[in-house]
């Protein structure tokens, strides 16, 4: 097996950029294969040719020229899909140069909260450091999704094989209701809902007679032409409206809007979606959620549940587990799914939530499963893909075995051995700590009556480094000791206070 893994690593650089059509067939042999969630074969073989899965089963025939990956003891699944990701858009959160599709409340160019015409396909950077790291973590497709404002824009599905062209774009229109949408409109949640209605109505009016719009013979629209154009696939139901929303009342508002305008919606975030599980199931509205997000973080959505994924699934809602926009955190996707399982979500549903459900939601045909004919996005795992000790041993995207190298593996390689000691200049030897005694010098005895008076030439407190202890404002005192050391001194009144 190890030999196979090394071999894979060696050929990676050769095949990674070869075109799919000419890619060598690949066969994974002897693995536990999750063909799709709920359909598993032990000791199975999976054959990939020309970018597609051409055979999968216990006795699938391996082509003679196939590169074989020993799957003994391994688990094979479809590549993972994060249905709401920042990979490719957010390179480094705090560096605006590599942050795209993250809008403040207002669009500074158009000074409005509507960014419908924004396309993540244009903002996506295939060279983003997170692409290769997420890929090494077993993700093969991300939905690069914008966020911010009332309407954030259009997301795109990208395969993480370094390709700058999307698998599909646009795949959804992203909007926000609740505090985040309202924030773009001076704080009124109700107004944000009203504005979304008006926007969809404008888009519908625009669709009915574009010519009139071009002649300026239409009533005033609240959005620009490109925004109205961008909303057309939503009205045509070819892409869903993904509503970033947490509070129950806002989720119900989103359901009303979906009905009113006959658009497909999905809920993203959905802190309180579990409270609306029945209605969401009835309206066939999927929910994208992070099952570990269990804090009552928002004042308008404080009814959070650890078991939201479980409750929604039980009610019949399609659940897509997602990092909800993470880029550096993308590879934790399977850990999120594992945590949902720990809280009652069936394992197969958890796998579906990071493969088939998001693939279906965004219309990615032939992705997210390992059925015959599917696009070969495949991950060979060292064990249970949701388990923490497991790693991706091989990642295949559209039939091409991918390099698992990235910025981090290169750093590890460089620092695997401690650099020569001379490379680190020794810092100076520690100085003796500055004297700062925590306790004052021993105070005078509080009851001199019982203590024989000390000898003349008494000790004067004078610690090592502090200057003359005597107050500078007073003359040097006369002898502070009793005149006669032999005579017991009469009782003195106790000092009014003793310092600790």
């Amino acid at each position: 097996m190890k030999v196979a893994a090394v071999f894979v690593a060696l050929v990676v650089s050769v095949v990674a950029f070869a075109s799919v059509a000419h890619a060598q067939p690949v066969a994974i042999v002897g693995a536990k294969i999750h063909i799709k969630p709920g359909q598993v074969i032990e000791n199975g073989t999976l054959v990939i040719e020309r970018g597609r899965i051409t055979a999968v089963g216990a006795g699938a025939r391996v082509p003679g020229n196939a590169k074989t990956i020993d799957g003994t003891g391994k688990v094979v699944t479809a590549g993972l899909v994060d249905g709401f990701s920042g990979v490719g858009l957010v390179g480094i959160d705090l560096e605006p140069q590599v942050v795209d599709g993250r809008f403040g409340a207002m669009d500074t160019v158009h000074s409005d909260p509507v960014h419908a015409s924004y396309q993540a396909r244009d903002g996506f950077d295939a060279r983003d450091v997170n692409v290769a790291i997420a890929r090494a973590g077993g993700l093969t497709i991300v939905i690069a999704a914008p966020a911010g404002g009332l309407v954030a824009g259009q997301s795109a599905a990208f395969a993480l094989d370094g390709s700058a062209d999307p698998v599909r774009a646009p795949v959804a229109m992203h909007v926000a209701l609740g505090a985040s949408g309202a924030g773009a409109l001076g704080g009124s949640r109700g107004k944000s809902i009203e504005l979304l209605r008006e926007l969809l109505d404008d888009a519908r009016t625009f669709r009915r007679d574009r010519a009139a719009y071009e002649k300026n013979a239409k009533r005033r629209m609240i959005a620009d032409r490109l925004d109205l154009e961008a909303l057309q696939p939503v009205l045509a139901r070819t892409v869903p409206l993904v509503v970033d929303v947490n509070g129950e009342s806002d989720i119900r508002a989103a359901l009303r809007i979906a009905k009113q305008f006959n658009v497909r919606i999905a809920i993203a975030g959905g802190a309180e979606a579990w409270r609306v599980a029945k209605e969401l199931a009835a309206a066939r509205v999927p929910v994208l959620l992070d099952p570990t997000a269990n804090l009552p973080s928002a004042l308008d959505a404080s009814e959070v549940s650890d078991e939201a994924a479980t409750i929604l699934n039980k009610a019949g809602v399609q659940v897509a587990i997602s990092t909800l926009g993470a880029s550096w955190g993308a590879r934790t996707l399977r850990q999120l799914a594992g945590n949902a399982v720990a809280r009652g979500l069936p394992w197969d549903k958890a796998l579906a939530s990071i493969t088939t459900v998001p693939a279906t939601l965004y219309g990615l045909k032939g992705r997210g499963t390992l059925e015959r004919g599917a696009v070969a996005d495949v991950v060979v795992w060292s064990g249970d893909p949701l388990e923490l000790s497991t790693a991706a041993d091989a990642v295949i995207i559209a039939g091409v075995v991918q390099s698992l190298d990235n910025h981090q593996t290169k750093l590890l390689q460089r620092y695997r051995r401690v650099p020569p000691a001379t490379a680190i200049s020794p810092s100076p030897a520690p100085r003796t700590p500055a004297p700062a005694p925590s306790k004052p010098p021993a105070p005078a005895p509080s009851a001199p009556s019982t203590t024989p008076a000390p000898a003349p030439k008494p000790p004067v407190p004078a610690p090592t480094t502090t200057p003359v202890p005597a107050p500078t404002t007073a003359p040097v005192p006369t002898s502070p000791t009793p005149a006669s050391p032999t005579t017991p001194t009469p009782p003195a009144p106790p000092p009014p206070g003793t310092k600790p």
Binding site: I92, G329, P419, S427, A444, A462, T478, P500
Partner: protein, 492 residues
């Protein structure tokens, strides 16, 4: 003793001058205007070990991971009056003990998080709740997380449900010196900071270098650059050293004045006319500066220094400052590039608190790698996995498992006990409470978690969490909602 350390003597006149008479000026009692707030009585750490009202609990037949390198299969652990009295394979259960069947379960020490902002950045996330960064100036060493800690933070109970029994609550990293940390024991239902305080835990201070302070103060008077940040640290500690010297001088002057006063009282008592002797005015105390009190505590070694720092070169800058100023750095936090200087860190005996797989959220975090903890551990650096997150704190066991897996994959053997130490006894050491908690051994505090299976699996849940000998959480009963979360109970 005082004389022994005196490097100079004061000339003493041979014969005492006759005290002046008929003077009524009283002795000034310095205690009447001496602010004593900084001299809070430190409880002994051993207070953490005794809770006379705590029950007697025995967990039997469990796999016990002690975090001492010892694994006990089918073992028993006995907790009495707040501390562990027995742990082993062949341990008698005291009569009257509440016996918990641990068959198939794992028992570990309570998890300890060396870096949390729970209570000072509570949920819900609202401006009114932002009590973690006193971002009005780069050195706010006087601020204390203890004062901002909200015991009703709903995040706390969730952390307990994740097996966490103690945590270091830190001010944020906006400031070079953010203020004092607050070591808490996590027991739902505490109403005040005093109740939440981990008994006897030493004081800590939070410092931060790098991007955050310069981002916050770049346009608010600086520091605007790392150049000025490290200068500002030096300036603050120089001022603190001067303050400490002044206070020390005052202490000496005060002691001397006490001696003189005693002598005068003796002379007064000999007088037949009953008249008082004019005294000398007491030395004027140095006004207490709480900022410098904290930094002087650092210089004395009384306050454990916890430094937020990402880059290797910046950690080296902080080490240079510590060496120059004469203090020790207890640990670096986050420290994503610690692996690059792990030899230096080992040499300086500085602990590292880091994450399993965080990186890239800012430029100084760009070079984080999942093998950081394993490489450090291999080098002998005391390492912890911390959370810095109210979500992450709920599954530190999982984070340790991920860091363990990354190490093992890189050929750095990290066994389960080592991974467990990352989240138990090592953070206890960072907090200075390892003498009483962090491992399962007789005499240690009864901070214990019983898990449904190995804590290093994603599917495992904490089933019973015992804090200081009392059951703080039971999975079967659910967590205790904070006051904030009490609602009409109508449900969905």
């Amino acid at each position: 003793m005082v004389a022994a350390c005196g490097s100079r003597t004061v000339k003493v006149t041979a014969k005492p001058e006759e005290p002046k008479l008929d003077v009524t000026a009283p002795w000034i009692d310095p205690d009447t205007f001496w602010i004593r707030g900084t001299a809070v009585q430190q409880r002994p750490l051993s207070d953490a070990l005794v809770d006379t009202d705590a029950p007697v609990i025995a967990i039997r037949n469990a796999t016990i991971l002690t975090a001492t390198g010892k694994r006990i299969d089918n073992g028993t652990i006995v907790l009495e009056r707040g501390s562990i009295t027995a742990v082993g394979a062949d341990v008698a259960v005291p009569a009257g003990a509440t016996v918990i069947d641990g068959s198939g379960k794992f028992v570990t020490p309570g998890i300890i998080d060396a870096h949390s902002h729970m209570g000072v950045y509570p949920a819900p996330n609202a401006k009114a709740h932002g009590d973690g960064n006193e971002a009005v100036g780069p050195v706010t060493a006087h601020a204390r997380a203890e004062y901002g800690f909200w015991p009703q933070d709903p995040q706390l109970a969730r952390a307990v449900a994740g097996g966490v029994t103690a945590a270091l609550i830190l001010p944020g990293s906006a400031n070079l010196v953010g203020g004092r940390g607050f070591t808490v024991t996590l027991r739902p239902g505490t109403r005040t900071s005093a109740e939440a305080a981990f008994p006897g835990a030493p004081s800590t201070v939070k410092m931060a270098c790098g991007e955050n302070p310069k981002r916050v103060y770049g346009e608010k008077g600086g520091p605007q650059t790392r150049m000025a940040e490290y200068a500002a640290f030096r300036a603050a500690f120089s001022e603190a050293a001067a303050y400490a010297a002044k206070k020390s001088a005052y202490d000496n002057a005060w002691a001397l004045w006490q001696i003189k006063r005693t002598r005068a009282a003796q002379l007064e008592s000999k007088r037949k006319d009953g008249k008082r002797i004019a005294g000398e005015t007491a030395p004027e105390p140095v006004p207490v500066d709480l900022r410098y009190e904290t930094l002087a505590g650092v210089l004395r070694g009384d306050v454990l220094v916890q430094v937020h720092c990402y880059r290797a070169d910046e950690m080296a800058q902080m080490i240079a400052i510590a060496d120059e100023m004469g203090f020790r750095i207890r640990s670096f936090h986050h420290a994503l590039e610690a692996y690059k200087i792990r030899d230096l860190l080992a040499q300086k005996n500085i602990a590292i608190n880091t994450w399993a797989d965080w990186y890239g959220f800012k430029l100084e975090a760009y070079d984080g790698i999942p093998e950081n903890a394993a490489l450090l551990t291999q080098m002998g650096v005391r390492t912890t996995i911390h959370s810095d997150s109210a979500i992450g704190i709920q599954r530190l066991n999982q984070e340790a498992a991920k860091a363990q897996a990354a190490g093992n994959r890189a050929g750095i053997k990290i066994d389960d006990d080592t991974a467990l130490r990352w989240i138990t006894v090592n953070p206890a050491r960072v907090l200075g409470i390892d003498a009483v908690t962090g491992t399962l051994a007789p005499g240690k505090r009864a901070d214990v978690v019983m898990w449904s299976a190995s804590p290093l699996s994603v599917y495992t849940r904490a089933e019973i969490v015992i804090v200081g000998g009392r059951v703080a959480y039971e999975l079967a009963k659910g967590m205790r909602a904070s006051d904030y979360e009490l609602d009409d109970g109508r449900g969905p």
